[in-house]
């Protein structure tokens, strides 16, 4: 439960949460019992790659390729740790 995210962690969306794109809000949202989190673009892009199959290294590589960026690992790990605490993701 309190394990920090690492490169070989395979995060997936937490039980009871659902991630979807909402055109009316022009953003990804995370839905949970009687509530909703509106996600900024980077949070949405990270979470939509959390399918329980890819590990963090693969997610980072995909994000860096998709956005022509580099050095994202630290930010992705920090976000996933926060998301894990909120139970948005599990592993």
């Amino acid at each position: 439960m309190n394990t920090a995210a690492a490169n070989d962690t395979r995060p997936m969306i937490g039980r009871g949460f659902r991630l979807q794109w909402e055109a009316a809000q022009d953003c990804h949202v995370l839905l949970y019992p009687e509530g909703m989190v509106r996600l900024n673009q980077s949070a949405g892009e990270i979470l939509k790659r959390c399918d329980g199959e890819r590990d963090v290294a693969a997610i980072v590589a995909d994000l860096e390729a998709s956005f022509g960026a580099s050095g994202l690992e630290k930010d992705v790990l920090a976000f996933l740790d926060m998301a894990h605490q909120q139970k948005w993701v599990q592993w």
Binding site: Q20, E22, A24, V29, L31, Y32, E34
Partner: protein, 377 residues
């Protein structure tokens, strides 16, 4: 609308499928005259409402009532809501939730169940030791968990059960609840009618909070407890429904669209019906939804108040019930010239064993018809 800005989407759709209910709760928020609003929407009507609201950006859908399990098309509605992309919530007392139906609901894509623990018997004081109630909840709680749902319980707290807080939390723990909402009764509809019986004393609330704090420590995160403080004991009003026509759309069993569960009581407002207006026009165009949006409708002391954006003047229904003016400040606010009405009710609650105007009134169709006759005569 006051600022001329377009309101956001109706993120929350509450589908009150029926006013029928096997229970007789004395704090029910369904309208006291519910018996005159017969003629429930058909399955096709509801399917259309679900589609229209989703098109307008609704993401959370609550199926409620009355007791929603009494609609035998619930599974059809949940399946369509799920297919449309709603997060689907069922608010039930558990009466009628059989193994076959919960399996069908799971199959239909139901995301979440909130089980309410109500004093379903007429022996309000005894309900906690009422074995039939407990056995039913125990059975339903086990089914909920077996189908992989988090176990979320809600219990309405009032003067007659608040002193049993230790037993209530203990019972929720025995049932394996992961979340427990201890919702102090709010005084609308049947609860308003029974207010002098239900409003707890400040001391009772403080004791209940202390008991809750002790349990939180003991549970060590096993169960999360939310204690919703009653607004009568506050000096600033709640931001009711997070703002009128801001996120919340209720559709009542007969198709009336409301900005909150109880707004139907407000005079001089013509609320639209989904049978003859689509959700887009209801939300953005109808007079009923625009009347108390934002802050432009406010009078003093709200209009010049530096907290007006924070609480939006509180609750319109409470203002109407207690001051006969739906545009007045919610009298919970200490700045309201009518705050004494709240203070008096709280003071009456402090005097134990005082005279009450009438015995407890239990929600039911016969009582509803009687009360409707009294108010229209």
């Amino acid at each position: 609308m006051s600022q001329g800005s377009r309101p956001g989407p109706p993120l929350w759709l509450l589908a009150e499928l029926t006013y029928r209910c096997p229970l007789h709760c004395v704090f029910c928020y369904n309208p006291v005259d519910f018996a005159k609003h017969e003629g429930e929407l058909s399955t096709d009507d509801w399917l259309r409402v679900l589609r229209e609201a989703r098109e307008q950006g609704s993401v959370q859908c609550g199926f409620s009532g009355g007791e929603p399990m009494l609609r035998d098309d619930l599974e059809v509605l949940v399946a369509e809501a799920h297919r449309l992309g709603y997060y689907t919530n069922l608010l039930t007392s558990g009466v009628g939730l059989t193994e076959a139906r919960i399996a069908a609901l799971k199959q239909a894509g139901l995301d979440h169940i909130q089980l309410s623990f109500q004093d379903s018997t007429r022996e309000v004081n005894d309900f906690l030791s009422h074995t039939r109630t407990f056995e039913l909840k125990e059975k339903v709680a086990a089914m909920i968990k077996a189908h992989g749902y988090p176990m979320v319980m809600n219990i309405v707290i009032h003067r007659l059960n608040i002193d049993h807080m230790d037993r209530i939390i203990g019972m929720a723990d025995e049932l394996g609840a992961e979340y427990l909402e201890l919702a102090n009764s709010q005084y609308y509809s049947w609860a308003q009618l029974n207010r002098d019986h239900l409003l707890p004393t400040r001391e009772q609330i403080e004791r209940a909070e202390a008991v809750t704090a002790t349990w939180r420590e003991k549970l060590d995160g096993r169960m999360r407890i939310f204690f919703v403080v009653p607004d009568y004991h506050e000096s600033r009003p709640k931001r009711c429904m997070n703002g009128w026509g801001n996120v919340f759309l209720t559709v009542t069993p007969d198709g009336t669209a409301l900005p909150c569960h109880t707004a139907r009581m407000l005079p001089g407002l013509d609320f639209p019906n989904v049978r003859n207006m689509n959700v887009h026009d209801i939300w953005y165009e109808s007079e009923g939804f625009n009347r108390y949006r934002g802050t432009g409708w406010m009078k003093e002391p709200c209009a010049s108040c530096d907290e007006k954006e924070k609480d939006l003047g509180g609750c319109r229904c409470q203002a109407y019930m207690l001051t006969q003016d739906p545009a007045a400040a919610d009298p919970v606010c200490a700045k309201s010239p009518h705050h004494h009405v709240i203070a008096d009710a709280v003071a009456r609650a402090e005097q134990c064993g005082e005279q009450r105007e009438h015995p407890l009134v239990f929600r039911g169709p016969a009582e509803s018809r009687r009360l409707t006759r009294e108010t229209t005569d």
